[in-house]
Amino acid sequence: MLGVNLKTIYTIAKKEFLDNIRSKWIILISVIFIILTILSAYVSGGSGDEVFGGLEATVVSLMSIHTLLIPIIAILLGFSTIAGEAEAGALSVVLSYPVKRVEVLIGKFLGLGSVLAVTPIIGFGISGIIIATAIGGEEGLAFIVFIALAIVLGLMYLSLIICFSALVKTRVRAIAAGVGLFFWAMIYGVIILALYMGSGGQIADLMSGLESYPEWLFASIVFSPGDLNQMAVMRAFDINQAMGYSMEAPDWLSMPFLLIVQFIWIVVPLILAYIFFKRRDI
């Protein structure tokens, strides 16, 4: 439909990978991520005989790290990719070549997405191997799914931040959009909780388990990439209990449904990014 040149997409993606894999901020956050991941695996096994806990227990503790740090990495990677490069002048050189904007956008997404994938693959991969070596790897496949879902989480945020970067004029505004995106993810749960309480819900019901939750509370997670992703991880590991709470969710929040919604979270912002980018004066 768009008649894209795959070689151009590959060239742009390769450049984005090479340029960003050496960014000191990305390296720093990734190192923190990897250290926290391994520490988390260690800590979650603290009550048993083994040094490391089981994969399921580890995954529950890793989820909070990945829902915090992976969006940060995605935002750091993507905020400046259009707004910043357009402001600095690098994008005008690239777009003066015989390339299409759609090729540049897809190339950027794939290249930055590859950088993003490296961190969870290394971080979770190392901890997964250590744990599997120590206590056996019966749930190895589920752990691989967990790594894939961590990458999906990153791609959702990457797609969103690229969309903002294509929309706003300056790098500073793109940073502001990134900060806003991150805090939206952080406060979304609080907003939903406030709505729940406002509609007559009780904290005691929340503590008693998910089965007493109203249906709309479950439906609200489709607007939160982080929650969607956490639910998918729980489905992958068949986790029904976490931190003392029952985590039983309705059947319609199935793995295919969760994957489709996450896919939509990746594709729709990218389509919007293309529309903004195509209209943009560079």
Binding site: K7, T8, N20, R22, G89, V93, S96, D281, I282
Partner: protein, 358 residues
């Protein structure tokens, strides 16, 4: 026929090959039998373009930013093989026009063709003919110049073997493995110059190419523009520094406040504006005073003195009268120089006229 020496990527054996510019040859290493491809750096790229004698055609281009009309219904054509200067003060609309030519900005109305291709309808085809150096050039901070050039070679679809010679040509060979993020503004500009030559395109659009460079590199770039032009390329370049364009442009266009106020050769612009030459007369003992005898001569527009030099702007026919009057007044003339009107004077006069001045 060109001879090149290339190194085998596996055993590092030097292999000598011959070929024509732009030709791709399959090479086989005589030692380890490794096979590879090498493309000889091309001459000016041959573009399958619709026929026509203009490289760039702009018709009634208008570009607005909300209430501001940055480019106001301008039209001009750049002939194939000419060096075309695009002049104007800062903020006149030069960069906006150039960005519209390349399709980087979306025009409000008008049409632009590069080598016959409409930039709005056949953007990729149109840009196949162009090398562009923006006013504020920037590259990727974590890449080295070689990686940057390799990236642009890949984007152009040309062999990466031309990257190193081009980096050397602009004098950045000592920084070839440094990250571009550590470069000075001038070094980034030089990398930009190397980048623009990658595809050997038939049209070059250079936006303030000498900005931020020291005198040595300004001269180098000016020479480079002449060489590219001799090889057959069309060059459109913008500047607000008139001395940069005066000696190398076939024609110039002058833009002010988004409007094209003149387009011609430098010589014709001066004739049109009736800018007079200036006499520079050395008179020992003048001491900064303009002799009274000069002021009353018909045809003298302006007379000023600076120490022992008398500057007189006058009609050509009045020159001899000035000299005779000075000699009759008993002043000893040591030396006389005539300075022809400069583009700067034309520029100032045109802008002054455009803004309602004298």
């Amino acid at each position: 026929m060109v001879t090149k020496t290339v190194g085998c990527p596996k055993c590092k054996t030097h292999i000598e090959i011959q070929g024509s510019p732009g030709e791709t040859k399959i090479i086989s290493c005589p030692k380890c039998n490794t096979k590879g491809k090498f493309t000889f750096p091309g001459e000016i790229k041959k573009i399958d373009a619709p026929s026509g004698s203009f490289s760039i055609e702009i018709e009634n281009l208008t570009k607005k930013f909300k209430d501001l009309t940055a480019v106001d219904n301008i039209s001009f054509k750049v002939r194939k093989g000419e060096i075309y200067g695009f002049l104007g003060p800062n903020g006149a609309g030069k960069s906006t026009t150039i960005k519209n030519i390349l399709g980087l900005m979306h025009m409000n109305s008008g049409s632009i063709k590069i080598n016959g291709y409409d930039i709005n309808k056949q953007g990729v085809k149109a840009r196949e003919s162009v090398g562009y150096l923006p006013e504020r050039v920037a590259f990727y901070p974590n890449l080295t110049p070689l990686q940057t050039m390799n990236f642009f070679c890949e984007l152009w679809g040309v062999d990466k073997s031309i990257a190193k010679p081009l980096i050397k040509e602009v004098g950045l060979e000592d920084a070839i493995n440094r990250k571009v993020g550590t470069f000075s503004k001038g070094m980034v500009q030089l990398l930009g110059v190397a980048q623009v030559m990658i595809g050997k395109p038939p049209v070059y659009i250079l936006d303030e190419p000498m900005g931020g460079l020291d005198a040595r590199w300004v001269k180098t770039i000016r020479e480079k523009i002449k060489v590219l032009n001799k090889e057959g390329a069309t060059v459109l370049f913008s500047s607000h520094i008139l001395s940069e364009v005066e000696n190398i442009c076939d024609r110039v266009a002058i833009i002010n406040k988004g409007k094209l106020i003149a387009e011609d050769t430098v010589e014709n612009l001066n004739k049109y504006l009736k800018i007079k030459p200036r006499l520079e007369i050395s008179i020992p003992g003048l001491n900064g005073k303009v002799p009274e005898v000069v002021k009353d001569i018909e045809g003298v527009e302006k007379a000023e003195a600076d120490n022992d030099i008398l500057y007189v702007i006058c009609e050509s026919s009045s020159r001899i009268k000035v000299i005779n009057a000075l000699e009759e007044a008993g002043l000893k003339i040591e030396n006389i120089k005539t300075r022809e009107p400069s583009l700067e004077e034309a520029f100032v006069k045109l802008i002054s006229k455009d803004e309602g001045g004298a």
